[in-house]
Amino acid sequence: MTIAKGIDLGTLDDLVEGFRDPAAARVITAEIAVLGASLEAKGIEPRLMEVCGSHTVAIFRSGIRDLLPSNVKLISGPGCPVCVTSVAEVDRAIAIANTPGTILTTFGDMMRVPGTSTSLEKEKAEGADVRVVYSPLDALNLAAEKQATGGDERIVFFAAGFETTAPTVAAAILQAADMGLSNFYIQSTHKTIPSAMRGLLDTPELGLSGFICPGHVSAIIGARAYDFIADEFKVPAVVSGFEPLDILMSVKMLLAQIDEGRAEVETEYGRIVSDEGNPRAIEVLDQVFRVSDAEWRGIGTLPNTGLVLRSEYERFDAPLAFDVRVEPGRDNPACECGEILRGLKAPTDCKLFAGVCTPENPQGACMVSTEGSCAAYYKYGRDES
């Protein structure tokens, strides 16, 4: 986009626009082409995976695939927390929302995620009080306001997210405890990323040559959290930001590592991500949540990839407070989300893609959020594959 005002280069006002500069993009693209040719001469076809849905969307939105040498492939991984929320958890949220006297709040992406037979968006149309919020704080403020004015509704925040979002929900819980709120609950479907990446590395048929690591998850957990990728699996990893130039630079850094036969964890996104991450956020996270196994939609149960409330904070746990029972959820059996989330298939390999399964009527995980691989392919890239 053109921005009407001039940008003052050299100040932090330029934090966004500076990373969208067309001239710099041309230079880095040319450098990538040189690396691509060098790798091609060695018969190497790098397969780079971005595990973060925001990266998937940024890659499509800026048309980066177009700019890469033909031997360099970008593969989309499982990185959308809304997409990997299990059908049973969505069913549970719907059952909670349908409990009289409940206001269920959630992030906008979650509204259209299909449960076994319905979605929060459809239940809202049927009369359930479901509200989109921008922050867990908005849900907290709603609860505080209801409690102060004698309203007897219970406010539930249906919380999905990776390590980026989980500390914000933990912080909201601590604040709710401080404020003595007795009408605020969360349903946690938080998931953690590094263990899931280990699972991907344990899938040899993926043949991954490098990881574009999620920048905002890393702001919390730090770049060192990925050391095992380089140390144990000898796969290069670069922690990347989300602007077009961030991603181009990260691709360049990965190709350079591969070309030079190195496998290290490097950080392109040093303005946000440190080696150690954010100790204060990790402390809040650990205070409120403990690690558990988690069910990933389309993939199954992955050990130690979930976050549940510690017993000290159980009074905020919606599934405990609301006595709702849900059957094990059912996905459309023809849906290839599991394979797509693990990068084994492209969205266009699925029989349902763009036919039965569309953003308006999503069948599986990858089509539901704007950041799902299928939704991104559908919206931005249908002609390409």
Binding site: M1, A4, T29, L67, R131, V132, L142, P244, S369, Y380
Partner: protein, 353 residues
């Protein structure tokens, strides 16, 4: 206090309805009975539209007289937002729909569905905006209706406006008229209205200097027509934004549309607020902008005409039509990549991930 709010009785058709009409609605709209042929309120407005009067105004020529009609309903929430309210929105929205077909807008109707409990002062404020916007657009509100529904059956105030206009001779605009080579122009910055409204939504609220762009495009379009540029189509990119409207044009005309992201004007504060909410300005609603599709040789002439009007200062050429990939809109991105631009699916919800 009950005097200050709308009650169900105000929609009964009885004495309270009459009082509301005579003491609130008509004065706020500036209704002057001496303007009208009938000096009392009738069941329908009756206007003289003689061929002679239109000929005299040089709107039509002998043997070519077409009228344009449209209707639109307005349910914006909240009803007051930075830069406007549901009143001017209802006038400008319908006026602009007429203008996009090349019509000179003349008359509007105004239907109101009011949720009981609305403050009469709020109704007056909205009606005052209706009056101001109608005057600015050069249209008269000639008929109306008021209904009151129970609390919870509407969201404070819904409006419907129907519009009537005359299409001057020789103007043929159609979404099906685009040809390869044609140039796509946008009359100004994108996303202002959607961001202004969203900044006041419950649960999302943030402070922004962005105000709605709600405006009548009648004057801007008149400049454009005077330039005698060869126009194919005009469209106002309201709900669904620029992307959705261009997809409709590409499909209707079976041409490809290629956009240049660097050329698309977006205010920095709109771009940053969109980042904050996870929205794409290409999909955000506008209420005072138009897409102009013009023959290539007349593009400069059209731009010049638009930029000479206060509403067209930021007008820019943003793309061209081609015979490549008919029905598809593609975008050359800031960094030189290419991507497909699809229609908006569902409502634009702020997303977190």
């Amino acid at each position: 206090m009950t005097d200050d709010t709308i009650l169900l009785g105000h929609g009964s058709g009885g004495r309270m309805s009459h009082e509301l009409l005579e003491k609130t609605i008509l004065p706020a709209l500036g209704w002057d009975e001496s303007d009208h042929e009938s000096k009392v309120l009738e069941d329908a407005a009756v206007m003289h539209i003689t061929a002679d009067s239109l000929l005299a105004a040089e709107l039509v020529s002998e043997g070519d007289s077409r009228i344009a009609m449209t209707t639109d309903s307005f349910v914006v929430s909240p009803i007051f937002f930075p830069g406007g309210d549901i009143g001017d929105l209802a006038v400008n929205g319908t006026v602009n729909d007429l203008v996009m077909m090349g019509a000179v807008p003349l008359y509007l109707t105004l239907g109101m569905v009011i949720e009981e409990g609305l403050l009469i002062s709020e109704l007056e404020a909205v009606l005052s905006s209706v009056k101001t916007a109608a005057e600015a657009a050069g249209v008269s509100v000639v008929a109306g209706d008021t209904k009151v529904v129970e609390r919870g059956k509407a969201d404070r105030l819904f409006l419907n406006t129907a519009g009537f206009g005359v299409v001057p001779s020789g103007r043929t605009l159609s979404a099906a008229a685009l040809r390869p080579g044609d140039v796509i122009i946008i009359s100004g910055t994108l996303g202002d209205h959607g961001i202004a409204v969203m900044s006041k939504r419950e649960g999302i609220a943030f402070e922004t200097p962005v105000v709605s762009d709600t405006a009548s495009l009648a004057g801007l379009a008149a400049q454009l027509f005077m330039s005698e540029a060869e126009l194919r189509a005009l469209r106002d990119p309201t709900r669904g934004g620029l992307a959705t409207t261009l997809c409709e044009l590409a499909t209707s005309s079976n041409v490809g549309i290629e956009l240049d992201e660097l050329a698309i004007p977006v205010k920095p504060e709109v771009a940053r607020a969109s980042d904050l909410l996870g929205l794409d300005p290409l999909y955000i609603a506008n209420e005072g902008k138009m897409i102009v599709v013009v023959a290539p040789e007349d593009a400069e002439r059209a731009i010049h005409a638009l930029q000479g009007h206060p509403l067209g200062g930021d007008a820019a050429i943003i793309g061209t039509c081609s015979d490549d990939r008919p029905g598809r809109v593609t975008l050359r991105t800031t960094i030189g990549g290419t991507r497909v631009v699809d229609m908006l699916s569902g409502e634009q919800l702020p997303r977190i991930c």
